[in-house]
Amino acid sequence: MCDTCGCNITSGNRHLLLDMPKATTPVSVLSTLLAHNDKQAETNRARLDRQGILAVNLMSSPGSGKTALLEATIAQLKSRLRIAVIEGDLETENDAARIRAQGVVAHQITTGTACHLDAHLVEGALDQIDLGQIDLLFIENVGNLVCPASFDLGHHLNVTLLSVTEGDDKPAKYPVMFRAADLMLVTKSDLLPHLDDFSPQRAEQHLRALANPAPVLTLSSRKNQGMEVWLQWLQEQVVAHKSRVAQQETLKPRVQKEGRALHQAAPAVRFRPVKPVHDHVD
């Protein structure tokens, strides 16, 4: 009988071997799976805050009018605010070229196959922009109602667009995205008379069902309808952020702010000190 060839194992004692506990060390961690991204996001936010810059993340489906909104916004605000834009797309410089035509700095991130921006991609873009020269930074995320919602970029506010050519139940279909909105914009409102199945009121009800109290504005950037309330909101946010950072305070986008701190199971998002339950078998 030996321990080498296994001849000590018989049908009578085999179950003892199978039941034998392995030398395992369970370790409690309780850290978020996005720790690496979130850490970079905090670094980005601190960098923006040092310059007093407000960063706004624009998210929506492809084609709901993010770039058109930026063109119209920049045209009307560039005399009052210094603006720069980070554009996220899978391919092409087209959107950055449209923004540059408005006379402001635009940096294009092409993500290749990645369907969202993350904090590391934004860090690289921040390196390309003279941050001492701007008050307001727009980050136009990749057109996608799913993944961008999960990534903190180091920005301060999430603005989510819903165009009237989409369904007004989009908030119910994409709750993770719309729950994260600090402001929801119903865009392309000039088309509303041609569409009998989109109701801005229903869209707002679906947003409220996600327990989201964010304001809802209806506008058309092409026809310059409802733009003044949006422009007013933006300017107020820039002023509020300047005084916030003067007090050494910052603002996190809605979901992160409300956050994970409420969860009893996850009091901290960082690595907690770990204690093996029993000693190692070295």
Binding site: T24, V29, P171, V176, A209, L210, P213
Partner: protein, 116 residues
């Protein structure tokens, strides 16, 4: 499809933990996930199959503990079950609720093996 980037983060944390405890292998990884985290458990499992190759967690079992969606009402104080697109208070119907469970994306536990 951001499950692969999440797995990168997961592997980074697990590898660091294994090195810290001088473990030879990782036996199991337990995650707590809610449906409002925006992550699909099945896609994450697929991404994990790719990410773990050649790592200390090559043979590790991935255990996912789904978390329920629950809210606490800021108006009436009631705690209730909710669903991903209906986070209203079940008791009074208010939308002023706070999510207390359901958007977790947490690495809860790692089981390390010190023997081959």
């Amino acid at each position: 499809m951001h499950e692969l980037s999440l797995c990168d983060d997961l592997m980074r944390q697990v590898t660091a933990l294994a090195a810290e405890h001088r473990a030879r292998r990782v036996a199991s990884i337990t995650l707590r996930m809610g449906p409002l985290s925006g992550v699909e458990p099945d896609l994450l499992r697929n991404a994990f199959e790719i990410s773990r190759a050649g790592s200390v967690a090559e043979t590790a079992e991935l255990l996912i503990e789904p978390q329920p969606v629950r809210v606490r009402c800021r108006r009436c104080g009631a705690e209730s079950e909710a669903s991903v697109n209906n986070l209203l208070c079940r008791a009074c119907g208010a939308f002023e609720t706070a999510l207390i469970s359901g958007d977790e994306l947490i690495l809860a536990r790692v089981e390390l093996l010190n023997e081959e």
